[in-house]
């Protein structure tokens, strides 16, 4: 069987691009392809990942300048055609700035940059990114961000809830959605959301940092595996 290509976009200032490449390459039959922000050619990839980091130094607002990188025009079109796009951390910020997802991420509630382990639940396990997770499964996936405080107007939150678009929530170790388990002040403990079409997911936790035994958790692998199974069978 020939390998399936998955694109990882590299913006100036991305710093989780190679971690993501490493995680993607650990799945058999999947080949990571690095896509430079200044290019237009998506090289036949079947899914695209926007990695974490500080694209353009987070100048102006996190993700705001990367959103206008030449490759983003292609990524937006790719997403509009229904192909899977995953944004991790800074990648999530880029997806929000580009309008592929609704809402915004502001400064963490306690002003601090947070780099720590969190526990989350895939509250919607029926997406192409979470099909291998169970809804009550508590996942240990780390975060590393200064601006991860998810905000959206009330009508947007209501619409996200109505359409099952909230995919990950911060929880305690028992899987309960509590204020203490909310690291950054995100509305309703939101850690990740998906678009209505179900092909664009953004999340603050880093699944690529929880994809190998020596990293202390394998819980991020389910996300990649769900996605790769999906693209292998469509």
């Amino acid at each position: 069987m020939s390998e399936i290509s998955v694109g990882v976009v590299v913006f100036p200032g991305s710093n989780c691009d190679h971690d993501t490449e490493h995680a993607v390459a650990s799945f058999s039959g999947i080949k990571p392809v690095m896509l430079w922000h200044n290019d237009h050619d998506l090289q036949g990839v079947k899914a695209i990942i926007l990695p974490g980091g500080f694209s353009y130094g987070d100048y102006l607002r996190a993700g705001s300048i990367a959103r206008f990188s030449p490759i983003m025009k292609e990524v937006i079109e790719f997403a509009r055609k229904g192909f899977p796009v995953l944004g991790i951390c800074n990648g999530f910020q880029v997806l929000l700035e580009s309008g592929l997802l609704d809402g915004a991420l502001s400064r963490n509630r306690d002003k601090k940059f947070l780099c720590c382990q969190t526990t989350v639940r895939a509250v919607n396990g029926s997406t192409i990114f979470t099909s291998l997770y169970k809804e009550d499964e508590v996942l240990r996936i780390p975060i590393a961000h200064g601006e991860g405080n998810y905000f959206a107007p009330r009508e947007v939150i209501e619409s996200l809830e109505e359409h099952d678009q909230i995919v990950f929530k911060y929880t305690d170790a028992q899987g309960l959605v509590t204020d203490e388990a909310n690291p950054n002040g995100s509305l309703n403990n939101i850690a990740g959301i998906i678009n209505q079409q179900g092909n664009v997911l953004g999340l603050m936790p880093h699944p690529e940092r929880a994809s190998e035994k020596r990293l202390g958790s394998l819980d991020g692998r389910g996300l990649f595996e769900s996605l790769f199974r999906h693209i292998a069978f469509v």
Partner: protein, 84 residues
């Protein structure tokens, strides 16, 4: 003759301004007991080479909406001055 746009981008009132809050606390710690609050925003100057004020204004509003502010959480205001 170009115009210079003096743009202020501020967080919407409903958004928690953690930087402003930190400054507010610091000012109170310094003994400024009458300080009620502090909020932090961004100040940006953009020079546009346009002859007509209306056209300069149109472009600057577009720039603010497209890139300089995020309407989900920020407001902006702008003043245009003729550069002599």
């Amino acid at each position: 003759m170009p115009y210079i746009a003096k743009i202020k981008v501020t967080l919407r009132q409903s958004i928690l301004d953690v930087q402003g809050k930190a400054v507010d606390h610091a000012l109170k710690n310094l003994g400024y007991s009458t300080v009620e609050s502090a909020r932090i925003g961004k100040y940006i100057e953009v020079t546009v080479n346009e002859e007509e004020l209306v056209q300069a204004e149109r472009i600057c509003n577009e720039i603010c909406q497209k890139l300089l502010s995020n309407p989900v959480m920020e407001n902006y205001s702008l003043e245009l001055e003729h550069v002599k």
